[in-house]
């Protein structure tokens, strides 16, 4: 084995992303994801069913409250399909942000006792939630069969939006988890921000409710474009491409900005946590 020489010295300012090191430790990331999945539903009766029940129950409530009582209608498909496809990426995003924001402070022992790329802590929680996203997409498959709604070739574009959603969630998660180490205020801010976020994201309403000239601006919320993209790929909903492209760009910006901020604050973690 080649001898690795490592120089430990004070780090100042912005840091490189450390992709190489992350690659060296990739097995550990897999273990952390595996741990999160293993422990999430330990000692529950329904176990993994919870990850399906959450979006299903959400959809049911949305159908009752927004569709039946408030009279909000979809942009084509049955409202329950419409709501479910919006909820799937949003639930993933929202759970990812809230879990990863607290991930560092709940792993205090790891941070102050052992070295590995810190980024794996928020990344691991997000990775584990990808399983939930997969499960809810398979439930969607069942719903689509039930409603006789056919998939088109547009589904091939879905991976782009999944990656975009993961990047947006990771970027926000990186930034919040790191800031949470310095200021626990974040812990109280996140649930509130996520609640607000759902209303500025077209999860329960179709995007046609937004005037067209505001739509590109609307795309500054990366999740707007992702939710619309999910609907486009799975249900064939109409899209306004400038919005989608703005959002995709925002996903990249969120991801790298979050990563940079995380790398910048990282060196204080063990001393401050």
């Amino acid at each position: 084995m080649a001898t690795i020489e490592l120089v430990i010295k004070p780090r100042k300012g912005w840091q490189p992303f450390g992709f190489r090191e992350a690659f060296l430790y990739r097995e550990l990331l897999a273990f952390l994801i595996w741990r999160d999945i293993k422990i999430r539903y330990r000692q529950t009766l329904l176990g993994g069913l919870w990850s399906i029940l959450q979006p299903l129950a959400g959809t049911l409530i949305f159908v009752l409250v927004f569709n039946r009582w408030a009279g909000i209608h979809s942009d084509g498909p049955p409202y329950s399909l419409f709501a479910f496809v919006g909820l799937a990426p949003w639930t993933f995003f929202s759970n990812s942000v809230s879990n990863s924001s607290n991930s560092l402070i709940t792993s205090q022992q790891l941070v102050s006792r052992v070295y590995f790329p810190r980024i794996f802590i928020p990344l691991g929680t997000i990775g584990a939630l990808l399983l939930d996203l997969t499960l809810s997409l398979s439930v969607l498959g069942c719903l689509m069969i039930y409603y006789h709604w056919a998939l088109s070739a547009k589904v091939l574009l879905l991976p782009i939006f999944i990656v975009g959603t993961v990047m947006a969630a990771a970027g926000v998660g990186f930034a919040f988890s790191a800031l949470n180490v310095l200021f626990r205020d974040i812990k109280y801010m996140v649930p509130f921000l996520l609640q607000m976020g759902m209303f500025v994201t077209p999860v329960i309403y179709p995007v046609r409710y937004i005037p067209l000239r505001w739509q590109t601006l609307f795309g500054l919320n990366p999740m707007s474009g992702m939710v619309l993209g999910f609907r486009y790929c799975l249900l064939g909903s109409p899209v306004y491409w400038p919005l989608i492209l703005t959002s995709l760009l925002m996903c990249l910006i969120f991801f790298f900005a979050g990563l940079m901020l995380f790398r910048r604050i990282e060196r204080f973690f063990a001393d401050v946590i």
Binding site: L6, V7, E27, R42, R113
Partner: protein, 443 residues
């Protein structure tokens, strides 16, 4: 041999009060961040008025390949900070460390154990966190389980384990780490006696396997036993570096107590003694040593020589129910002998409040050569009212105690004893256990 660890001018500064002192609140942080964007996380120059504390100051040392180095120091001397920097958990403030080779550090056993996971699952998780690959863990799995002695509970969540089982499993994973350089912090004091012995044995194997080990412990006998080299840290500075034996001696002598400053000649002023506990006010004032022939205590006390210790103290109220105790401890922290005035059958009592002197006469001090720490305390009505842990320190030096020119050096104390060959005609008239024996050496 080449150096695998090079530590140069290593310093680490902490801000007292942590982040609070920097940005009192989130509000204030936002205010600074808005005023000077991008500078809010930058260096400490802007906060020069804050309280700082150097946990480490300009540390320099090298560790050669295959060396087992012990690091000793009191609490707060910077040992853990040093290990944290070497393990890359925290950054140094200044200086650097060069590490050549795969390094694994064990600052604690069971890091990353999750209570909800089973023993089996935790072996994999903990192994991965400590830097083992999946293949490595798989190949050592049986060995780890065997060492931990918890086979039956492998599929039980560790939250249902007893604390002993938990620690055994945690140590077993750690013990099977196989890095080129191992950094260990006080992980030996775990488990029951039998398991501790096993752990020490394992550490012994590791230290003999040609691996480079950096080992921090309060257990100086373990350091002396396991390490070749020793480093003493004193208030964040490197105070001594040499053989493990010398380092332990130095540590015991310099670092442990405030005794060396007060001991001028045969008097030890106790008024400023460090490591004192007093119920209300300090009553013990001074120790006066009277070795044989009016010699100086600094010259050391010969084995078997008489030693008189006069304890000067203040009696706060007239009473006859007061006692003085003297505890003799060796460098391993073992109490080897206790002299207590309550052991004296006939003693005169001076029931006058105020300064008094209690004299303890030891006709023959039969301790093995070495350094001893004296602990002194005072009881009134059988309640401890004043005590000093490291009141004084003295040396017992070799002498011809047995009259053969051979000086005893190991064991704890010396005892007059006789050897003779039994008359071949008689069949062992004296049972062997009737003869006094010298204690076997420690460790």
């Amino acid at each position: 041999m080449s150096n695998v660890i090079e530590v140069r001018n290593l310093s680490k500064q902490y801000r007292i009060g942590g982040v609070k002192a920097r940005n009192e609140t989130f509000r204030e942080f936002l205010a600074t961040a808005l005023k000077r964007p991008l500078r809010s996380f930058s260096s400490s120059k802007n906060y020069a008025h804050d309280q700082y504390f150097w946990a480490l100051r300009e540390i320099n040392f090298d560790v050669a390949e295959g060396e087992v180095v012990g690091i000793v120091g009191r609490n707060g001397a910077g040992k853990s900070t040093l290990l944290k920097i070497i393990s890359r958990i925290t950054d140094p403030t200044d200086g650097y460390i060069k590490v050549r080779g795969r390094l694994a550090s064990l600052l604690e056993v069971g890091t990353g154990f999750h209570p909800e996971l089973t023993g089996r699952e935790n072996i994999f998780l903990n192994g991965a966190i400590l830097g083992m690959s999946r293949a490595e863990i798989l190949s050592k799995f049986d060995e780890i389980v065997g060492f931990s002695e918890i086979e039956q509970f492998l599929d039980t969540p560790v939250k249902r384990y007893s604390s002993g089982m938990y620690i055994r499993l945690a140590f077993s994973v750690a013990a099977h780490l196989n890095p080129e350089i191992l950094v260990v912090d006080e992980v030996l004091a775990v488990g029951d006696m039998a398991f501790q012995k096993k752990c020490l044995g394992k550490m012994n194997d590791v230290s003999r396997s040609g691996r480079t080990v950096l080992f921090v412990s309060h257990n100086i006998s373990a350091i002396e036993h396991l390490c070749q080299r020793g480093i003493v840290l004193l208030q964040g500075k490197l105070a001594f570096s040499g053989t493990a034996k010398d380092a332990v001696q130095y540590y015991a002598h310099r670092a442990m107590g405030g005794a060396e400053d007060g001991a001028s000649g045969n008097y030890v002023d106790l008024s400023q003694a460090a490591g004192r506990w007093a119920q209300s006010r300090p009553l013990l004032r001074r120790l006066e040593f009277c070795p044989e022939d009016g010699k100086s205590l600094k010259a050391g006390v010969r084995i078997g020589a008489p030693l008189t210790i006069r304890v000067h103290f203040t009696l706060p109220a007239p009473t006859s129910s007061f006692d003085i105790g003297l505890g003799f401890e060796n460098l391993l922290g073992q109490r080897v002998f206790t002299a207590h005035s309550a052991f004296e059958p006939i003693r005169g009592h001076n029931e006058i409040a105020g300064p008094q002197v209690f004299v303890c006469e030891i006709p023959s001090l039969t301790l093995v050569p070495g350094e001893y720490v004296l602990r002194v305390w005072m009881d009134i009505g059988q309640v401890e009212v004043d005590k000093i842990d490291n009141a004084a320190r003295f040396q017992v030096i070799p002498s011809d105690y047995y009259g053969t020119g051979k000086s005893p050096w190991n064991g704890i104390f010396v005892l007059k004893h006789h050897w003779y060959l039994a008359d071949p005609e008689e069949n062992s008239a004296v049972a062997p256990e009737a003869l006094p024996a010298i204690e076997p050496p420690l460790g």
